[in-house]
Amino acid sequence: MAEMAAEGKQPEILFWVGCAGSFDERAQKITRDICKILNYVGISFAVLGTEESCTGDPAKRAGNEFLFQMQAMTNIQVLDGYHIKKIVTGCPHCFNTIKNEYPGLGGNYEVIHHSQLIQQLIDEGKLKAEGGESFKGKRITYHDPCYLGRGNNVYEAPRKALEILDTELVEMKRCKSNGLCCGAGGGQMFKEPEKGTKDINIERMSDVLESKAQIVAAACPFCMTMLSDGVKHENKEQEIQVLDIAEITVRANGL
């Protein structure tokens, strides 16, 4: 972003990568795939790079409002400094925080999740499922991230990205507003679970297995980690792949 600003250019959209998208090896791949999609359709975009910082989401959910607001206000200063108007992000937590909680602190942007961007591009005819890997005959199911689904009522956009594939889309028993959490939210990703009989992501695997899906589509880097761990736990790595909506789109278009 700094480079673009130095050249006096303004991107159409800012891609908010998020901490997972920046540091988590699996999520980094999704980050690169989102960039591929943006490049493919010719949207000019920028990333903040080292100027980006945690939105404060995990701190806020865990009760540390101070830390959250410090992060938020710092980020808002950076974003406003670059006159950012529109943001796309690959993380439902960043999406929810910037979209819903930053306005109250003075940060007003149009924020979309990458699944919504993909839906828009499909609707505009700029993205199809052509020229890449065929998903024909594969059973795909979609896991709703809490902060995209229940949190912000985005249920259809990610499904749209899957509907254009020539494939069999199946729903899990608990889906959409009834979707079961992957277990990572609310700060759980960063702490040991409380005592219980089972881990939540393992419970979610029973829904995945029941759906007989070969591909579980995710739209959140934290769900990605939890679901992948669940598949590993069940020793189903050969049979079941966990892929982000962006990865599926990139593969289907051979990008």
Partner: protein, 433 residues
Amino acid sequence: MIAQILFIIILAAAVYLFSKNAGKIRRNILLGKDTDRSDNPALRWKTMAKIALGQTKMVKRPVAAVMHFFIYVGFIIINLEVMEIMIDGIFGSHRIFSKPLGSLYGLLIGGFEILAVLVLTACVVFLARRNIVRLKRFSGTEMTEWPRSDANYILIIEILLMTAFLTMNAADHKLQLLNFGHYIKAGSFPVSHFVGNLLPGNADSLEIIERGCWWFHIIGILAFLNYLPYSKHFHILLAFPNTYYSNLNPKGEFTNMATVTNEVKAMMDPSFVPETSAEPMRFGAKDVTDLTWKNLMEAYTCTECGRCTSVCPANQMGKLLSPRKIMMDTRDRITEVGNNIDKHGKDHQDGKALLDNYITREELWACTTCNACTEACPVNINPLEIITEMRRYIVMEESQAPASLNNMFGNVENNGAPWKYSNADRFNWKERS
């Protein structure tokens, strides 16, 4: 005449006692902190119409939805009949609506009877679900003796009231056929004329039965009214204001604490002067009075149906957290605080608090903030907000977050990411393409 005076005294006492106890609940709710829910009245009315009046969130569980609908419609519509009973009781009249309503009256009474049967059926099914089938949703650590009995009492009272109503009609119908006394031919009795076969034939016994059931029914209703403030059944009243004052923002959005905003602004810009508030403040909630009046209203609205707990991922995994318990604990504690005020005056401290005395930290830290509980609640109760407020207290006032979360806070503060990665490496994802 004596009967009329007696009726008026009982009615007045019942209304007085109910207003007093309902007033106490109102007072208790207003012990909560202020929060503004006066915006967007049009959408609020719509939400209330849809969710409380239209019961749209009940349909996710169809059996319960249909049965509950019978009782709900029965309750509301049979109240028209109760109005007539009240007027008859005060003025000593009998079936006063029958003349002005003409043939419509027969239709109404007939309709009430059919509804009464539906209510009876639903109550029996509900009793069976709780006591014979023993649905998992109705058990759990918080479902101790009293909440279980409370549910059964409500259903049994409703069964008794409906039975009395039908028996009263049956006796009345038979007396009408005998042209006895003031029992004018009025109403239609599609259900109770079957019950009539079980009743004696002579007019005197019939009159005793009719009067007996009439008094039992109306005193039962007034007693039930006074039971409400002590019971989860209070939801029949609070469901309406509670949905009116619903959170209209996206569920993922948590409140931004204005007090914190002031401090952060002052920290980032030394020239910033916040509007000072004289009141010493506490971050987050340790006790019920740190919560908002809306949180407390929700606690009194909760009817302990357990939909929240049954969809809670933490609860399903055998963890201590149960969103229903959060609401019940909040209600029990604010009731206790209210009782203390009544007994010992406004400033009494009992040395107890919602945190630790009612809700343990282990429960609070098990929440994934997934919003399944708020989505499931048929009357838009939000246990998550209480959990968050209590976490805020633990973190910001006590600095007692679990060690692993403190590490995460440290990382966010120092590296701008929840993990221990250097911020300089944030753009490294680009290299590996």
